[in-house]
């Protein structure tokens, strides 16, 4: 099935407006693994006939890693350029599959002149299910399978979103098993605060390995996440234990798209 991915510019040229802007993010646009998450979400949006659009080449980094690294100049330059584009298209609502983009757009753009309703993709999908636009009833794909959810810090502790991704996993008729450290006590995957882009400081262990141990303890066959960076870190962690054949690391959007056979 080919994807239907209209850009804001195309929409505008046709005199149409999008109900929601899909903010793809750098990982979702360029990282090979994360691109699959992007496509899974688009499949869901297409399937549910959500009138969405992307910025395409007009999108740029939100500035999140710059801000976490302490470079407020680069962050604000990025933010103000993005806000000009977003406000130019009179964007009201944004969905993103990246908790870092989500946090920055939602919490740090308003002070710079960019106020939008920002939702994480798990929240949007939950809404699609609740309003009957997406049905998963009778799906056998993950029925009875053990799935554990790794809370992305910038979705959980940073923004108190814990329930939407879990509600979706439960819709799969799967068995949701929690790690010993979950929700507010969830352990970071090690990527946040610009760590993704640098070598870890000297220590005796990698954080993603520590976190993967938590996941392995649950004996879940699937580690679900809601963040492209957590996905990378957990995938590497699973590889570290040579378990990549038994344990899959998947985004919640991928689980839903697979279950709905999209």
């Amino acid at each position: 099935m080919s994807l239907n991915v209209p850009t804001m510019a195309e929409m505008m040229a046709k005199g149409e407006t999008a109900d929601v802007l899909f903010w793809v993010g750098c990982a979702g646009s360029f990282d090979d693994r994360a691109k699959k998450i992007t496509k899974a979400l688009v499949k869901i949006l297409n399937h549910c006939n959500v009138k969405f659009a992307v910025l395409g080449t007009e999108e740029s980094c939100t500035g999140d890693p710059a801000k976490r690294a302490g470079n407020e100049f680069t962050f604000q330059m990025q933010a103000m350029m993005n806000i000009q584009v977003l406000n130019g298209y009179e964007v009201k609502k944004i969905v993103t599959a990246c908790p870092h983009c989500f946090n920055t757009l939602k919490n740090e753009y308003p002070e710079l002149g960019g106020s939008y309703e920002v939702v994480h993709h798990t929240q949007l999908i939950q809404d699609l299910i609740n309003t009957g636009k997406l049905a998963l009833e009778g799906s056998q794909t993950y029925k009875g399978k053990k799935i554990t959810f790794h809370d992305p810090c910038y979705l959980g502790r940073a923004n108190d979103v814990y329930e939407a991704p879990r509600a979706l996993i439960e819709k799969l008729d799967a068995e949701l098993v929690e790690m010993k450290r979950c929700k507010t006590k969830g352990l970071c995957c090690g990527a946040g605060g610009a760590q993704m882009f640098k070598e870890a400081e000297k220590g005796n262990k990698e954080i993603n390995v520590e976190r993967t141990e938590d996941a392995l303890e649950t004996h879940a066959g699937i580690i679900a996440t809601g963040c492209p960076f957590c996905n990378t870190m957990m995938t590497d962690g699973v590889k570290n234990f040579n378990k990549e054949d038994e344990i899959k690391v998947l985004d919640v959007a991928e689980l839903i798209a697979n279950a709905a056979e999209l």
């Binding site: 850009t7 750098c26 691109k35 080449t57 999108e59 980094c61 302490g70 919490n107 640098k198 400081e201």
Partner: protein, 446 residues
């Protein structure tokens, strides 16, 4: 009469020195930059009520929470007895509330005794956790030396205090029974729950004519010991990690009520960025407020932090929940959020003393970076676990980020990979080296 004068003098000195120390702490905290933590007072009171008064966040670890609760409740309730001691001391009465309150007094003192006993047990448990069981979070390297002594000293002071209470009540009870009490009475008993039992055990000794003068001396030692410990404790607080018993309340009141993921906006940067992006801006225009000294980007020293950061530092009781939940610390990195708070406080005390001794422009050649290394700061994943964990809503993360801001924006010092990442964002609008024109390629790929 002499007793009253001595008591009054001790009280004046005790409260006076405490007041002076509070003033010093306050002026140190106000060295910080301003941050708006007013507004939404109902939410603030609620946070204080739940987190400080109600100990809400302690209960994610039930064992220390219950032990701590015993000490906390005993401490709060014992203040009633302290008020009585102060009234007695200043008026020359003895157990002035006994006559005023009657049976309720017996209940109240019994309640205090039970709580004091629980507190005593808790204190021994705390000493054991630190010194015998050697709990990892209470035996980390940043606690070597003074912090460990400070912690043990506090616990020992609490044992002495409780011992004084029981000595006073028990000897008073025996005196009462044998007709030697300061209180005018018929024969009988105060009937306080625990001291009554101890007195029962000791009575046979005194029935055989043991001299009551020993009892009277012991009773006075208990009484004076209690009040002396209270003043010693009070004046030790501003120098100790134990100051949290006071500052937990304002610190939770002034909590950050925003989402934890939201980092502060740097307005000074906003103004410059706006100027850069505005095609009509006059680059030679005089700044709106040319008298204002340019503010440093980020934090090099304590004055660059906010007063809330500094209040946080004084409030920290070094329990180490932050550090034990820190992913960097758990994987052997140098970063410990608790150490960040301890270093901030130590440096603040030093800066405050420098200012009082040498004037406000004195430069001792040191900064926060004399205490905190760059390696610590760059180990943080900004995951907010430390912030979430703190039982009194301290925010070590905002200090770490302000230190990063200083290093990056003032000194251009950062791990080399981050220089590359930032260049990529500036040049290609992504942290990696991809062309912005390829951003939508995914939509056409299979």
């Amino acid at each position: 009469m002499i007793q009253i004068i001595v008591f009054a003098l001790i009280s004046i000195v005790g409260f006076g020195v405490f007041g002076y120390n509070i003033w010093k702490v306050r002026s140190n905290i106000l060295l910080g930059r301003d941050i708006d933590r007013k507004g939404n007072s109902s939410e603030r009171w609620k946070t204080m009520f739940l987190v400080a008064f109600g100990q809400q966040k302690m209960f994610s670890r039930p064992i220390p929470a219950l032990l701590h609760l015993a000490l906390y409740v005993a401490f709060v309730i014992t203040q009633i007895e302290l008020i009585e001691i102060i009234v007695d001391g200043l008026t020359g009465n003895h157990r002035v509330f006994y006559f005023a309150l009657g049976g309720f007094y017996t209940f109240m003192i019994s309640f205090i005794e039970v709580l004091s006993l629980l507190a005593l047990i808790a204190t021994f448990a705390f000493l054991a956790r630190r010194n015998l069981l050697k709990l990892p979070r209470l035996n980390m390297k940043e606690l070597v030396g003074w912090p460990t002594k400070d912690a043990n000293l506090i616990l020992i002071m609490e044992i002495v205090l409780v011992t004084c209470i029981f000595t006073m009540n028990t000897t008073d009870e025996i005196l009462y029974r044998i007709g030697g009490s300061h209180v005018d009475h018929a024969n009988g008993s105060f009937g306080f729950l625990i001291s009554n039992c101890i007195a029962d055990m000791l009575m046979p000794l005194f029935a055989q004519g043991y001299p009551t003068s020993t009892l009277e001396v012991l009773e006075r030692i208990g009484w004076w010991g209690h009040i002396a410990m209270v003043f010693a404790f009070l004046n030790y607080l501003p120098y100790s990690k134990h100051f949290h018993i006071v500052l937990a309340f304002p610190n939770t009141y002034f909590s950050n009520l925003e989402k934890k993921g939201r980092f502060t906006n740097m307005e000074s940067v906003t103004n410059e960025v706006k100027l850069m992006m505005d095609p009509n801006a006059d680059p030679y225009a005089a700044p709106a407020d040319s008298n204002a000294a340019p503010q440093r980007f980020g934090a090099k020293d304590v004055q660059d932090l906010t007063w809330k950061n500094l209040l946080d530092a004084y409030t920290c009781t070094e329990c180490g929940r932050c550090t034990s939940s820190c992913p960097a610390n758990q994987t052997g990195k140098l970063l410990s959020p608790r150490k960040i708070m301890m270093d901030t406080r130590d440096r603040l005390v030093e800066v405050g003393e420098n200012i009082r001794q040498h004037g406000k422009d004195y430069d001792d050649g040191k900064s926060l970076f004399s205490y905190i290394s760059e390696e610590e700061i760059w180990a943080c994943t900004s995951c907010n676990a430390c912030v979430d964990e703190c039982p009194v809503n301290i925010d070590p993360l905002s200090i770490i980020i302000d230190l990063r801001r200083y290093l990056v924006m003032e000194e251009s010092k950062m791990p080399t990979e981050l220089t590359g990442m930032l260049t990529n964002i500036e040049n290609n609008g992504a942290p990696w080296q991809f062309s912005p024109s390829d951003r939508l390629n995914w939509a056409k790929e299979d």
